[in-house]
């Protein structure tokens, strides 16, 4: 029982991080069809910024805020400098461009901060025992912040005019243009939100994972697994999918074999492709277009 609750807690924590990155990816994917593979690297940069600003000022939370704001700006810059320039290019070029971005960001991190991992103190040290599971406060913070954010994102997308225009652009680019929305501006906004979410994930994770140049790689890959699992372009689906993936990974590692832990998400992905290729929440028409 203890193992079960402990594993569940770990899975939900991990899943919250995956869900944050995947929600951003789903947004960017839905609005612009851009496979932004560099969100993992954005999370890495977010982690480093949290370490740096947090270390200079002594406040983890200030570091986190700076990381989120800086990453939103980075999202705008990369969109304007890279993806917007390539908007007429075939989708395979976009994927490779995103990989080029990963290399630029990782290379920059390597040059600026070097290969050694940097550790960040937990925001609130200590832990609490719930139903036999020992959960550090940092993990509770991760889950709490993530939940608050998902609620906020959902309200933004369903209740505000800007959010509605993002969804409209995702549903039909031409239709959105016809009613006077500007898909390019919406795209810029979606990319800023996606990058900020990735930066937040990195900032939340850094006390647990440390910061080093390749720390975001698994996040990037898992975010893709999540959006296939959820159905491409479904933000709410990405949240659920992220938690499911985190749980699958944690339970697989605890009950099956720790050695093959990285294989479970991949097997889950293949299973989804075979059984339900449109994803858990996707519409058939989208996947089989």
């Amino acid at each position: 029982m203890e193992l079960f609750t402990q594993t569940l807690a770990n899975g939900v924590m991990l899943g919250s991080i995956y869900a944050l990155v995947a929600a951003g990816l789903a947004l960017v994917f839905g609005v612009m069809d851009i496979p932004q593979f560099a969100f993992g690297a954005h999370a890495m940069i977010g982690g480093y910024l949290t370490w740096w600003v947090g270390g200079e000022t002594g406040s983890y939370w200030l570091g986190l805020l700076v990381a989120v704001a800086a990453l939103a700006a980075l999202g705008v810059i990369t969109h304007a400098a890279v993806f917007d320039q390539l908007r007429k290019a075939p989708s395979e070029t976009l994927f490779i461009a995103a990989f080029g971005l990963v290399m630029v960001l990782q290379g920059a991190a390597q040059v600026i901060w070097g290969p050694d991992p940097r550790s960040v103190e937990e925001a609130v040290p200590g832990s609490i025992t719930i139903a036999g599971a020992t959960i550090t406060y940092q993990r509770l913070i991760i889950i709490g912040v993530a939940v608050a954010l998902f609620v906020g994102l959902h309200l933004f997308l369903t209740r505000t005019l800007t959010g509605l225009s993002v969804r409209a652009a995702a549903q039909s680019r031409t239709g959105a243009q016809a009613v006077g929305l500007r898909p390019r501006a919406v795209g810029l906004l979606a990319m800023a939100i996606g990058s900020a979410l990735a930066g937040l994930a990195g900032a939340l994770l850094v006390p647990i994972s440390q910061a080093y140049p390749t720390v975001g790689d698994p996040l990037a890959i898992k975010a893709f697994v999540v959006i296939v699992l959820a159905g491409m372009g479904s933000v709410n689906g990405a949240v659920v999918g992220g938690i499911v993936l985190g749980a699958v990974e944690a339970f697989g590692a605890a009950y099956l074999s720790l050695e093959w832990r990285d294989a479970y998400p991949v097997l889950l992905l293949i299973l989804v492709l075979v059984v339900r290729p449109q994803g858990l929440f996707g519409k058939e028409a989208v996947a089989w277009r």
């Binding site: 989708s91 994927f95 290399m103 630029v104 960001l105 390597q110 697994v225 992905l269 277009r289």
Partner: protein, 329 residues
């Protein structure tokens, strides 16, 4: 233009064959050999990626599977090198077939993502299936190529020539496929999938055929790699290799005959050139890639070809899509 390109390509064959006699140092010959070996992987990738428009991040996995198939059979089971080739080819085909059946019915990004999953899985199997692959500790020493009647492949020059022979065969097969009805169907699907569909071209079957050929080729390129390098670890089929070869192909020029060879040269030589400034090498590669995608989206070979087209035909520059068709016609 068509003629110029083909003449240029075939003129490179004797040039490549005399290369080991021109190169002074064993180090240069080793780099040349690696370029030729990775060239095989790039030709395979180009068939799928360049001509078929299928961005595969799994071909490195097939390369690794082929390398390990040959490596394990030669080392653990004392097989003859040449006998391992059919095994590697079948293994590559099986992986490509599975990937294709799972994903080819779906549009766009699904293929990339599923191929990424395949690439990851291949790397995981290579590193975790320790009983067979030796895991992270690696597999080796792998004996060198088995001789043929009257020929031995002991010397570095002979080994280069063997790898070069494979590359020429791969290029030949690729050229045949591209000019065949299959290649024309592939080009039609890449240019306008719906129109091709309306004309009665089955996109799934066409792409699956191309993927099978290209997967077998990637695995065979891996088979050539294993005895040359003599030692394998999971990075031989790693996810890093997938991305770096894909990126090198873009820089070289996808969908062209020379692109894969230029790409292989970039893949092998650029990291060597940046050896003194290791920490800058990833950054430099990324910047080069982004600049190439932005300003020369057809890569080095594609840009050269465009320059040649413009010189021979002063007519207005054809649209990119039209150009692709004319070369395949």
């Amino acid at each position: 233009m068509e003629m110029t390109g083909r003449v240029l390509a075939w003129a490179l064959v004797p040039l490549g064959a005399v290369l080991p006699f021109v190169l002074g140092s064993p180090y240069a010959l080793q780099l040349a050999s690696l370029v030729v070996i990775y060239g095989g992987l790039m030709v395979a990738l180009n068939l799928c990626f360049g001509y078929g428009g299928l961005v595969s991040v799994a071909h490195g996995g097939m390369f690794g599977a082929g390398a390990y198939a040959t490596g394990v059979l030669m080392t653990t089971h004392q097989w003859n090198f040449w006998a391992t080739l059919p095994v590697a080819a079948v293994l590559g085909c099986a992986m490509g077939g599975l990937l294709g059946l799972l994903t080819l019915r779906m549009h766009g990004h699904y293929f990339v993502i599923a191929s990424l999953a395949f690439g990851l899985m291949a790397q995981l199997v290579l590193s975790r299936w320790t009983a067979v692959t030796g895991g992270e500790l690696g597999l080796g020493p792998i004996p060198t190529y088995s001789g043929l009647p009257g020929v031995s492949f002991e010397s570095p020059t002979a080994r280069y020539l063997l790898a070069f022979g494979f590359l020429v065969v791969f290029c030949g097969v690729s050229a045949l496929v591209v000019r065949s009805p299959l290649g024309r169907r592939l080009a039609a699907i890449k240019q306008n999938g719906r129109l091709a569909d309306a004309l009665g071209i089955d996109p799934v079957r066409t792409r699956l055929a191309a993927l099978l050929i290209s997967s077998a080729m990637a695995a065979l390129a891996g088979s050539v790699y294993a005895p040359y390098i003599g030692f394998l670890d999971p990075s031989a089929g790693g996810i890093d290799l997938n991305f770096k070869t894909g990126l090198a192909l873009i820089i070289g020029g996808g969908g062209t005959a020379l692109g894969p060879v230029i790409g292989a040269a970039v893949h092998v030589l650029l990291p060597e050139a940046l050896r003194g400034a290791q920490e800058y090498s990833v950054l430099a590669l990324g910047v080069v890639l982004l600049v190439v995608i932005r300003f020369a989206p057809h890569g080095v070979a594609g840009t050269l070809r465009r320059l040649l087209v413009e010189r021979e035909r002063p007519a207005p520059e054809p649209e990119a899509e039209e150009e692709k068709v004319s070369t395949n016609a």
